[in-house]
Symmetry: C2
Subunit: 252 residues, 2 copies
């Protein structure tokens, strides 16, 4: 499984991804799911991937090849973020189609999902969710984050914290807390955790780091969050004593 | 969708269930998913249900009929909690089988899952997860809670808080926080919320209540949790400035 997320706030974008890949419980490997392109003062693009590893690797390889051979349409010359998402969605759908008709295709799942984020000069920074079918949706001001893979465990904290005026610093913290909750509840999502923070309108590489399982900040965050949640929980009001509760019991 | 959970701690048991049922987004209804039997000084049993509403209603009806006609084997005479789970699992599997071969059965999903909890005199209090196939597992000291339905959003808080020595009061608070997080993140899980707290070795009805959407305690808990989570989040350490982060960026 996989957990990747991207957050789009007024100040810019935050990306985070885990690195665990598994095909069955005994085939667990570590692969980066964060791919960066551009950052050349004209465009910055970040691609997060989930799903079939062969498909996502083929898609990234095709994107890189198109850039290398300066194909008529490639990620370095598409006119905006939407066009970039459409270009990648097309490659992804094509890659899946190729393998779906293979000799042992029963039960084979070539699907892959992507989050594409970044900024192309002339347009705003943004994030797009590219579906296995190749179509895509953009995050909106009222839904300022996107997730792919194992999305549910880490969603409540994003629902509660993230809004458009969240700072990049807080958005990064929130992304890492969301990632930590997911890793805690699902063993197939695991470190190292990669993150990238992109400040809007800089068209630069942004701040990138890889946090290994024992990275001091990740450990500090995990322990502080665990302690803080416990305190938050313990200071909640207790349920009132329900007087005469038995009266509401339906008899059989 | 549905969210039901049960927690088993040294002091006793806590049950909670939402009441929303949907067959498509425009067929939303309110049904109780908590069914109580016994509480006669000899046994107390609570059944939580998720899945196909026709199946779960048939199962409850069959259980009640067997008690009414004093069938040779019924919930009031099975010897322990495991036997009760096996009895209910058998009824559930049979009900599903009946309808699976109907005239328009393609795409039809008669599956239902249950949590059965309580205590039969002579045995300890406990909770069991009954699968659609009719088999079942009991919660263990290291996994002191069970969930059915939309389980993921509300799991992280249970993972962090619940252990065997958690008090019934804290377990109830935790169950309601878990329910609130799920209702917030999934629109198909909704109020009213029913809960029941059973104190071990009492064989009594326990404390039962139905919390409507605007129940003062539910609102108070929701707001306090929302505020506390925000404070817990804001007091987390910030990510260190990543000096020279650009150096780690892979160029394409």
């Amino acid at each position: 499984m996989t957990y990747c997320l991207a957050i789009s706030v007024d100040q810019g974008l935050v990306f985070a991804s885990d690195s665990r890949t598994n095909a069955g419980a005994d085939q667990i490997s570590t692969y980066s799911k964060m791919h960066r392109f551009g950052a050349n003062g004209e465009r910055t693009l970040v691609l997060l991937s989930a799903g079939n590893l062969a498909t996502t690797q083929s898609v990234v390889a095709a994107i890189e090849r198109d850039i290398r051979v300066e194909a008529k349409r490639n990620l370095m010359n598409v006119e905006d973020l939407g066009a970039a998402a459409e270009y990648i969605g097309g490659i992804s759908a094509e890659e899946q189609r190729k393998h779906r008709s293979g000799p042992t295709s029963e039960g084979f799942q070539p699907e892959a999902s992507f989050i594409l984020g970044g900024q192309v000069r002339g347009g705003p920074a943004g994030i797009e969710h590219i579906y296995p079918e190749g179509n895509f949706v953009r995050a909106s001001p009222s839904t300022p984050f996107l997730q792919i893979g194992e999305v549910k465990y880490g969603k409540p904290i994003l629902d509660r914290i993230i809004s458009n005026d969240t700072t990049l610093d807080a958005a990064l913290k929130c992304a890492l807390v969301s990632m930590d909750s997911t890793m805690r509840s699902n063993a197939t999502v695991g470190p190292p955790v990669e993150y990238l923070v992109y400040q809007a309108d800089t068209f630069a590489r942004g701040t990138y780091d890889v946090l290994e399982e024992d990275a001091p900040y990740l450990l500090e965050l995990r322990h502080a969050w665990s302690d803080n949640i416990r305190i938050a929980f313990e200071s909640l009001p207790s349920a009132p004593t329900v007087i005469g509760a038995d009266a509401t019991v339906r008899h059989i």
